[in-house]
Amino acid sequence: MSAASAAVEPGAKPRAKCCSLCGGEFSCCGGEPGCWCESVELTRETLAELRTIAEDCLCPSCLDGFARRQPQHAPSLDGDASVPSAKMWAKALPDAAVRARGVPRVWGAAIAVFSLGCLLLGLAVGPIGIGPASIASSALSHLLLLHTGGRLSTIDEAILWQVRAPRVVLAALVGGMLASAGAAYQGVFRNPLADPYLLGVAAGAGLGATLAVAYGGVSSSGDVLPLAAFAGALVAVAGAYALARAAGRVASAGMLILAGVAVAAFMTAVQTFAQQQHAETLREVYSWILGGFDAAEWKDVVLIVPYVALSSAVIFAHRRVLDVLSLGDEEAAALGVNVRRVRLVIVIAATAGTAAAVAVSGLIGFVGIIVPHTIRQLVSPSYRAIVPLSLLAGAGFLVGADVIARSLLSPAEVPIGVITAVLGAPFFAFVLMRTRRVEL
């Protein structure tokens, strides 16, 4: 190419120009035939990319730098008639300069390892210890339908797959759901104190469960209680949303939070009244409210999987929009986001997921607030990282907490909410001490 251009009559006289990139002066023919930049080989893709941002010439060293960033093995432009010569008017910038931080690989890997470790621990730990190797071989034989028998006895198999596995999977689903719902709530309400129970999910679920036990004669171990709790939670949030709209014409973030407070207070009062009228139900309701996975079965998993999958998919899809919302309602609207609709969609998704989680596991506090905040402080303030990592870390955290809850005073069980708070609070305090400032 450079040999050919030497024969071409120079189109323009070299003149002093300023480099678009570094601002330094250099001499150039403005990309006309015979210009020095013809000796720089660029692929068609790189050229197209430079054209998009093309305004003026680059100095030799900047253009060289850009040329070096293109894939080495890519074919050069020689012989391709459809592309002119490597004329450069580009204001080239390192492509990596402007890029939204996603999930940093190191953190993604670390949290994945943590969560997988917790899952494995959950399967292995118990009154009867089952080694990781046995778990792996048993899992393999099930997965591949080999039925080679593995190394486990029938009883161990039953313990592993009928008792521990559903428990671990349920804890993971609930933990991931609560953490990602918490992240979503914090994002749409731009409030660091927001947690999945913000809009009255907890109070509604508690009321639903209480009414079912007190007036419906439902037992806390039956199938109806989760449904009653689920319905109560949805009614509470729908009530809060309706109240906020009625009061403020539009459901603004602050109005929604306050409406949630009112609805929660009202429902808690009704619940207290119902409990007082039926004192014999107190124990039953209380044990449900404390939460836990001691009665976990596969059917619970089946019950909540669709909600968790749908809800976390919706939240995940909105991770970039959550970043836009961090600029405030008006700025987000000026950037073309339909703030009210987006908020409604995210709140519905997070609420449905949370309600399903609460229905099968009771009220487990702290996961929804502590996990997203920890990710925010340790990894990145962008919801592109917070949402997926919260899902993953929340799952691992709750499985780990459940392991401690059932082995600390074995065979008795410590309420899992106690563990999440006792473990979470000091760790969270540590994270906060490292933090310069809290802002959402």
Partner: protein
């Protein structure tokens, strides 16, 4: 063609009519300054034209009525820079500027290569390359203003609405910011509508001034027509001297009786 056209636009916030029967036409590439005392409705007009608040009447952007456009369609045409934009302190400059591409990205999609390159160009244009990786919390007032302008530029609007662009800046930074807006306007054919408090600056940069009081346009025209001592006294209640020199108009506040 007019970039922005408003005909008998009224805005009612609560029980109060904040903007009354505003009609306005801004040509492409023109810079119009909105001036007027506090509460005159300057910010409300900007927010209305950005499609952020409901109004009666008609607003057309590049010939298209705002009322029947989606929020995203409006945002592709108009960038609104509020007086105190929210800058989440942990976000980097690059990430913030990239958020300006939001109207060009599908609701649930993520940025394409073009979006990143466009943000890069905005960053380079506002000489923010050295800041790209800095967090927003670590910037000075002048740098913040440039970052916000970069975000607006990344939006690739045809109309730029600026609410008090110099209010947080010192004299020099304010001037630099306005020069920057002016050069961006010339390079990219932007139409600029800015609310301004400093009347001298408003007169020096805007092609045309629109003086508002109580939601109504009370004067409109070139700086030397609008900025006169009587007009300013009757609408601002301020004692000022107006000096015209070399085609520039200076409005100087003074104490004591008029003249």
């Amino acid at each position: 063609m007019s970039a922005l056209q408003a005909s008998s636009v009224s805005v009612t916030l609560g029980a109060r009519t904040v903007v009354r029967e505003l009609s306005l036409q801004i040509d492409a590439g023109e810079w119009v300054g909105l001036i007027g005392p506090n509460g005159a409705g300057k910010t409300t007009i900007l927010r209305t034209l950005a499609g952020l608040i409901p109004f009666s009447g008609q607003v057309k952007l590049a010939g298209r009525p705002v009322a029947s456009s989606t929020r995203r369609e409006i945002a592709c045409l108009v960038a609104f820079v509020s007086q105190r934009p929210e800058l989440p302190s942990e976000l980097t400059v690059a990430e913030y500027v990239l958020l300006g591409r939001t109207p060009h990205i599908g609701p649930l999609a993520s940025e394409s290569r073009t979006d990143r390159l466009c943000a890069e160009r905005a960053i380079a244009r506002l000489e923010l390359r050295a800041f790209a990786a800095r967090s927003l919390g670590s910037l000075s007032g002048g740098e913040r203003q440039r970052v916000v302008l970069a975000r607006a530029l990344a939006q690739e609007p045809s109309v730029l609405l600026l609410d008090e662009p110099t209010s947080a800046l010192d004299l020099g930074r304010g001037q630099q910011a306005l020069e920057l807006v002016d050069s961006l306007r010339r390079e990219q054919g932007l139409t600029v509508l800015s609310a301004m408090h400093d009347l001298s600056l408003a007169g020096q940069y805007a092609d045309r001034l629109l003086l508002l009081n109580r939601g109504e346009v009370v004067a409109c025209g070139a700086a030397r027509e609008v900025l006169c001592e009587e007009t300013i006294h009757s609408h601002y209640g301020a004692n000022v001297r107006v000096i015209q020199e070399d085609g520039e108009v200076f409005v100087l506040p003074c104490r004591g009786g008029r003249r």
